[in-house]
């Protein structure tokens, strides 16, 4: 039992063991003494096999253990150099041969680890050593050595290598920087994360201390020292450290220091994270919170923070708008601030996270309602999404909007009116150019001809034409004067006039003509029986329309004329329809309401009627339009109040003045 104990003790000291084995062999190689026997026993207990190879005879002798190691028995296996080789793993043959050659050449012991293949296929790791015995002539006569099964040890070694490998991988795969420092703070190892953080490679860092990585003057090393001491005493520490990268860039990192062990030594394991950005964000958040609070209190609107309607916080503005105190608001359901019928709409907006402003009706504490514009935004708050909502009382804005709209439409009608006035001015230029210059020019021409003519007959003719031109001029001037009067006399008194009575009057004035063409005249004023209008204008309108219809009758048809009034968009409209000759509007449409324009070769055509009533109608803010088809008839529409602006402005003015 004693030798066994000794052998067990010796096992961990593998290198020295081989020496002890070889030494006695060397000193007394061929003695088979008691000592040798003891050694053999010890070797057997230690599971170390002995082998000998006699070079001259090529005989090989193995101890019992060697047979065991190679998985064969003395009975079944005849050992020699060739059979021995069959048991060595083919991949390791070369190694083994080389080791032996080295020993032969250099007379030095070899150690080699190789695999053995047992006859049953089992693979074993074997550690073999060997040395030669030389004669006086320097010839090696024998090679002898040990063999030991190290399969278990190999496995453990591999396991250790693998676990070290996976540890290294882990060490380097974490994004955070990890340093292993000795008690003095010197870096023993750093991971890839640390190299990446600083821009140094491992060899540049190992052997340095944190001072090497410090941003100058920014760290309190006394504090750092204290923290490290505390970490070494077993309490993990967290500290902030201003660091400097290889490129000079400075940043703030958070370091966690823990005590650990590394190959039996007490060490410090530090992990570090760049928290510059986090710090910035914290700073920004603080600032924006501050801003938000200031803004919230300064805002005229009501601001509330709520979670699906439940108010978490609000400003004074919300309380001012709604009439509830802040205490009443906070913790309550914000939905009660919105009118019942709008709640569903508001909830939809909340749930969809809508950010555009929308209008609803708000309800104050006292139950009164107001126009409310709501705008909200979802923001992350303590890990969940909440909603910041602003209430704006837009009652005043709504009123102003309405005012602007009204003003706008007023301006539009002013613009429209100006446009019409401009058109009328152009029309005047036209009239002066054509209708007035023409007869005057004729007078001059005729005087010239009159003066130079020698025939009394001709002179008389010129004179009569002169008279005619004079009359035309005067007539045109009168007509223009009349139109000017119409245009200027907007404040002409109006009275309530019944259409049927006006038509009656006009019919009696034109009774002879009506009888002559045997026209039937129908009327329907039931939808708009009367109008506030100047009597002479309305009479003139009816007179002109009726006389035109009577004038341009189609001899193929019995003349039928219909007068009718109705209301459309609060405007009173007169419709006068006949079945007369009609006008080709495509051709003459642009001239219908112009002065002295006629479209029929009719002795009574003077082209003054429609022009005149158009001026009357427009002067009072109305509009006249025509629909006509040749051989079918003509319909004239008079919208008396299309541009009511004129009338409104006039009554305003007269009321004011």
């Amino acid at each position: 039992m004693i030798p066994k104990k000794r052998a067990v003790k010796k096992r961990p000291q593998k290198k020295s063991k081989s020496k002890t084995v070889v030494k006695p062999l060397k000193n007394s190689p061929e003695k088979a003494s008691d000592r040798q026997h003891h050694i053999d026993m010890a070797l057997e207990a230690a599971q170390v096999g002995i082998w000998e190879w006699f070079i001259k005879t090529d005989k090989v002798r193995w101890s019992k253990i060697v047979y065991q190691i190679f998985g064969v028995t003395k009975k079944d296996f005849k050992v020699d150099i060739t059979s021995y080789r069959t048991l060595v793993h083919p991949d390791d043959q070369e190694n083994l041969a080389f080791a032996i050659q080295q020993t032969m050449a250099n007379k030095k012991i070899y150690y080699v680890q190789h695999r053995a293949i047992w006859p049953d296929g089992t693979i074993k790791w074997i550690e073999a050593s060997g040395n030669g015995i030389w004669n006086k002539q320097g010839e090696m006569i024998k090679l002898t050595g040990t063999a030991q099964d190290i399969t278990e040890r190999k496995k453990a070694e591999n396991h250790f290598l693998e676990s070290e490998q996976s540890y290294k991988t882990l060490f380097n795969s974490v994004e955070e920087a990890i340093y292993i420092q000795d008690r003095d703070g010197i870096f023993m190892d750093v991971n890839d994360g640390a190299c990446k953080m600083y821009g140094y490679n491992r060899s540049e860092l190992i052997g340095r201390t944190p001072a090497f990585l410090s941003a100058e003057g920014k760290n309190d090393f006394n504090l750092v020292g204290d923290k490290i001491k505390m970490a070494l005493s077993g309490t993990p520490q967290t500290l902030e450290f201003w660091a400097r990268r290889k490129n000079g860039e400075e940043f703030l990192k958070e370091v966690r220091v823990t005590k650990g062990f590394y190959f039996g030594e007490e060490i410090l394991i530090s992990t570090a994270r760049d928290i510059t950005e986090r710090k910035n964000i914290e700073e920004e958040l603080r600032e924006s919170e501050q801003r938000f609070r200031t803004l919230q209190q300064a805002s005229f609107g009501g601001i509330g923070i709520h979670d699906k309607g439940k108010i978490m916080d609000c400003n004074q503005g919300l309380s001012d708008i709604t009439g509830y105190s802040r205490d009443e608001l906070i913790g309550s359901d914000g939905m009660r601030l919105v009118a019942q019928e709008w709640r569903e709409h508001a909830m939809e907006k909340i749930l969809s996270g809508a950010e555009k402003p929308y209008d609803v009706e708000g309800v104050r504490k006292d139950g009164s309602r107001y126009s409310l514009e709501v705008q909200a935004k979802n923001i992350p708050y303590q890990g969940k999404m909440i909603r910041v909502t602003e209430f704006r009382d837009i009652t005043e804005r709504k009123i102003n909007e309405a005012k602007i709209m009204e003003q706008n439409s007023r301006l539009l009608s002013v613009a429209e009116d100006l446009k019409r006035k401009n058109e009328q001015l152009e029309e005047f230029t036209q009239i002066v150019s054509h209708n007035l210059r023409s007869p005057v020019g004729n007078i001059l021409t005729l005087i010239n001809f009159f003066e130079t003519s020698e025939k009394a007959e001709e002179k008389a003719e010129y004179l009569s034409l002169l008279k005619e031109s004079g009359n035309t001029t005067q007539q045109t001037l009168n007509e223009l004067n009349e139109v000017l009067k119409i245009k200027q006399n907007k404040k002409i008194p109006r009275q309530e006039l019944h259409f049927d009575r006006v038509l009656q009057q006009v019919k009696s004035m034109l009774s002879a003509k009506i009888t002559e063409v045997s026209a039937t005249i129908e009327s329907d004023f039931s939808q708009a029986p009367s109008i506030l209008y100047p009597n002479i204008y309305l009479e003139s309108i009816f007179l002109n329309l009726l006389s035109n219809s009577l004038k341009y009758v189609d001899s193929d048809r019995k003349p039928e004329i219909v007068f009718k009034t109705f209301q459309s968009n609060s405007n009173i409209i007169l419709e006068a329809r006949d079945n007369g000759l009609g006008i080709n509007l495509e051709r003459y449409g642009h001239q219908v309401f112009k002065l002295h324009k006629t479209f029929h070769k009719h002795p009574e055509s003077r082209g003054i009627g429609l022009f005149m009533i158009k001026n009357q109608i427009e002067a009072l803010g109305g509009e006249i339009s025509i629909v006509s088809q040749v051989d079918k008839g003509t319909t004239i529409f008079v919208n008396f109040t299309k541009y009511n602006f004129d009338a409104a402005e006039d009554s305003d003015n007269s009321a004011g003045g």
Binding site: Q430, H434, N442, N448, E458, L465, R587, Q591
Partner: protein, 135 residues
């Protein structure tokens, strides 16, 4: 009657212009072939009817603007398409009392109008115009 005697058409509702122009042309012995139309429509009808008769088509048209029915502008619109089928090149002189720049420019912008003449037209001016045109 000389074969080269030009034919002149007066298109104007103004009977004073018609008469005085007629007298001037006759007195100057410029031509005795004068066509008179009261408005554009009558003139157009005549042109359509005699489109292929170069002997009867006018060489010159004196065209007023302001006429009942078909006025000078409408006449020009129709003439633009009509003239393709005419057997004669016709020169149109626009004669109007209008000094309105819009009328003047509109006439000048029409490629069928040779000249815009403002009424009243003196006898001298008329004779000069006709002689130049006939030359």
């Amino acid at each position: 009657m000389q074969p080269k005697t030009p034919i002149i058409a007066l298109v104007d509702d103004d009977k004073v212009f018609q008469l005085t122009t007629l007298r001037t042309i006759q007195a100057a012995n410029l031509t005795d072939r004068i066509l008179q139309f009261e408005n554009g429509e009558e003139a157009l009808s005549f042109l359509r009817l005699h489109a292929t008769e170069s002997d009867n088509l006018p060489d010159y048209i004196f065209l007023d603007i302001n006429m009942p029915f078909v006025d000078g502008w409408m006449f020009l619109d129709d003439f633009a398409t009509l003239k393709m089928g005419l057997k004669k090149d016709i020169s149109i002189y626009m004669v109007s009392s209008s000094i309105d720049p819009r009328d003047v420019n509109r006439a000048k912008g029409n490629k069928n109008v040779s000249e815009y003449i403002i009424k009243p037209v003196s006898r001298e001016k008329l004779i000069q115009l006709l002689k130049r045109a006939a030359a």
